[in-house]
């Protein structure tokens, strides 16, 4: 085998050309990682929203909370169901919820309006959603016009700090607390008491009912018995599955875009790599002749040049990871078209994503290096040495 140090030294010999090729590959990898981090961040924000241990009841046929509607009778049937877990005080852990969208102007430009989720919850909701934590202030008091604002909203919308007054639905609401929810979509919502929201929004109707399962493994049984109940027509979803399904449309669009854009880019970068390697092979023909004369087998020359191309691409891949890393955690917002609501989430780069990025770079290098390496291996010694 030709020692790898030969390739490393050859690469270092032409720093500019190596740097340009590696930079090109690096940018492709950076974009690849960046776009997947976007899709990833969005998906994981919604995936974290739903809990495995919760079940969610919507009207039959409704594909989102927005299109659902359930009466008080349904809420009391579910509260009495034996599959529902009970809290420390012996009350069932059920939250019948009002879910509406309201337009809010953004901080930097109040003419830019986003549809923000307003969720009216019961007292139990704070226990049913056990990842929700109050970060500032006190929980809204029952019976008062008070709301709690998700932590992702406070930076981006005016009048959302504790102590301020938010105006919507023709009334003033005192912001009494902020909450975090482990990076989930709840952080982009405004919570208040369901009984307060019903009269100002859609009247005596809930949009969804979420409850804690007594036995999370018995979800199928709970679903069967509730859906079979003749007194109501409902669909029961596991909360985690529901939110995963809500993320599908947009995350499919984002992943599709990531793949199409990077595929086109990758082809361009591979073309570039082929050219670079052909030029490298052409200018080093005498060297290759010497190697062959020394007794190195043609296939070792092939492997050697492939390794060289892969090495340049690897540098590019590492560069790409370094370019992409700073975007990890940056918060961005868009509309989730499945629920029509604005959701904020952060770019999420995982070690797996970085690994895939580097593998992608090396793959580009190997593909781009193959034909030039083949040419190098097939050089005639006599001709090469002239």
């Amino acid at each position: 085998m030709i020692p790898i140090v030969y390739n490393v030294r050859s690469v270092v010999q032409r720093p500019l050309s190596t740097a340009l090729t590696a930079l090109g590959v690096g940018l492709v990898v950076a974009v690849f990682i960046g776009m997947l981090a976007l899709a990833n961040g969005f998906r994981s924000a919604l995936a974290r929203t739903g809990s495995e241990t919760n079940a969610m009841v919507l009207r039959k046929g409704a594909d989102s909370e927005l299109s659902s509607g359930l009466g008080r009778d349904v809420a009391s049937i579910i509260a009495a169901d034996p599959h529902v877990a009970t809290g420390g005080d012996g009350r069932p852990l059920v939250s019948p919820e009002v879910y509406v969208l309201i337009p809010l102007g953004k901080v930097f430009d109040t003419t830019q309006v986003a549809n923000v989720v307003v969720r009216g919850v019961s007292d139990q909701a704070w226990q049913v959603r056990n990842h929700v934590k109050i970060t500032a202030g006190q929980r809204p008091t029952s019976g008062r016009a008070e709301v709690c604002v998700g932590s992702r909203l406070t930076q981006r919308f005016p009048h959302t700090q504790v102590g301020q007054t938010l105006r919507f639905a023709g009334r003033d609401w005192n912001v009494v607390c902020n909450f975090s929810a482990a990076g989930s979509a709840f952080e982009s919502e405004i919570w208040g008491e369901n009984e307060q929201f019903m009269p100002v929004f859609r009247g005596d109707v809930f949009q969804s009912i979420t409850f804690r399962l007594k036995d999370p493994a018995a979800f199928d049984e709970a679903q069967r018995s509730l859906q079979a109940d003749k007194r109501m027509t409902v669909d029961v979803h596991r909360e985690s599955a529901f939110y995963a399904q809500q993320s599908q449309l947009l995350s499919n669009i984002l992943s599709f875009l990531a793949i199409v854009i990077t595929a086109i880019m990758a082809v361009g970068a591979v073309f570039g790599a082929i050219n670079t390697m052909y030029a490298a092979v052409a200018s080093r023909a005498p060297e290759i002749g010497v190697l062959l004369t020394l007794g190195f087998k043609p296939w070792t020359v092939l492997v050697s040049f492939l390794a060289e191309s892969a090495f340049i691409a690897l540098i590019g891949g590492i560069l790409g990871c370094l370019f992409a890393l700073p975007i990890n955690g940056i918060v961005t917002g868009t509309t989730n078209w499945s629920s029509f609501s604005e959701i904020a989430f952060s770019f999420r780069i995982t070690p797996l994503l970085l690994g895939v990025g580097i593998a992608f770079a090396v793959l580009m290098g190997v593909i781009g290096g193959f034909f030039p390496a083949l040419r190098a291996a097939r050089l005639q010694v006599v001709q090469a040495l002239r």
Binding site: L20, G61, N115, L257, F271
Partner: protein, 380 residues
């Protein structure tokens, strides 16, 4: 001109390399044109829609309806020449995997307000007279392979039950703001089935003078300010533009990414072009010895770089311009009226010129400044 052959011969020397270089430039500019068009199409959405049409929504939010009783009060306002209303239905067809918009409208007044909805007169007549009929955009009907006169059943998500409509007409919108993948049916039938709730999702108000739009919008909103359902009125263009802003930063990210992509591929391409020029040091020395001037050699190398960059640009930009209309691309309904704007073509051509300079300048200067004696020493 007599040197053209020399340039062509040089390009033909490594056919594969020339093809690959041109192809990667073409890909870069194709991608550039596509991504920039996403942004320009979104920006252009604010230009769609009639200037004489206002949209009145419930001020509390998009999902809240307005009383149908507002119709007569708006109609009576000075400056208002026409009025129609519609309600989002949100029905699902089949397994719901292929989402499309569907809403109920007050048929006669709606079609009168939207001359952009073009369809044969007899189909229009049939629809207006058929209470359970529907009209369908031409893209939608070909997507599902429906036929004129057949029944289509939607499952209501907001308004439960099976809703069956007869396809009375197929329309083609002349304005991209009006979707070509929409099912439109009668508001009266809708209202009856939901128990005469008397609601309208939004009103479309036609006014006589576009310049008075802000004043009339304010009059309408003032009229209902103290009612149970206050309104928010804006021009149809503002309404369209607000949908574009809902994407938030995503469109900005797309264009940033697009530029990074272009830069990456151009970098690699420029590198390949420079390497190929470097190989020819000996040749250039010979040409100089034969009597080619420095200036001429500079020009020849630049022309070669330019030929590759501009051919690639022409293929990439031309390809994007021709491809998208040919496949009726509209970004799954999110980007109606998607097209490559002229400004994108100009921008793309400038990028190609930049590439020509970036990749040609170094080798061309080297060629022009090459000391013959030194260069020839390397040539056998």
């Amino acid at each position: 001109m007599k040197y053209l052959q020399l340039v062509v011969a040089n390009l033909g020397r490594h056919k594969l390399r020339t093809v690959l270089t041109v192809a990667s430039v073409a890909l870069a500019l194709f991608l550039f044109a596509s991504l920039r068009s996403v942004t320009t199409t979104m920006a252009a959405a604010a230009q769609f829609g009639g200037a004489r049409r206002l949209v009145t929504l419930n001020a509390t939010g998009l999902v809240f309806p307005l009383p149908l009783a507002y119709a007569n009060r708006i109609k009576a306002l000075p400056g208002v020449t026409g009025l129609s209303w519609a309600n989002w239905f949100g029905g699902r067809y089949g397994d719901g995997k292929n989402f499309f918009a569907n809403f109920a409208v007050d048929a006669e007044s709606y079609l009168a307000l939207y001359p952009e909805i073009v369809m044969p007169a007899d189909q229009k007549q049939a629809f207006v007279q058929d209470r359970t009929g529907a009209i369908i955009g031409d893209r939608l009907i070909s997507q599902f392979g429906w036929k004129l006169g057949q029944n289509v059943t939607l499952q209501g998500t907001i308004f439960p039950g099976d809703w069956t409509f007869k396809v009375d007409g197929v329309y083609h919108p002349t304005d991209p703001a009006i979707g070509d993948n929409v099912l439109i049916f009668h508001h009266d039938y809708f209202d009856e089935r939901i128990g005469r709730a008397g609601i309208a999702g939004w009103y479309i108000v036609e006014i006589d003078d576009p310049s008075r739009a802000p004043a009339i919008a304010k009059t309408i909103d003032d009229l209902f300010r103290n009612s149970s359902s206050p309104t928010k009125t804006g021009t149809e263009r503002e309404f369209q533009a607000s949908f574009a802003t809902m994407w938030g930063n995503v469109s900005f990210l797309m264009s940033t990414i697009g530029l990074a992509v272009v830069f990456a591929i151009l970098l690699v391409t420029a590198n390949a072009m420079m390497m190929s020029a470097r190989e020819r040091t000996g040749e250039i020395a010979v040409l100089k010895t034969v009597g080619f001037s420095d200036k001429l050699l500079f020009t020849l190398v630049m022309v070669e770089a330019g030929a590759m960059a501009l051919t690639g640009a022409a293929i990439g930009l031309g390809g994007a311009t021709l491809l998208y209309p040919a496949i009726h691309f509209n970004g799954a309904g999110f980007l109606p009226g998607f097209k490559v704007a002229t400004s994108t073509l100009i921008f793309g051509a400038l990028v190609a010129l930049g590439l020509m300079l970036a990749s040609g300048l170094v080798p061309a200067l080297r060629a022009a400044r090459l000391p013959v004696v030194q260069a020839l020493r390397k040539v056998e």
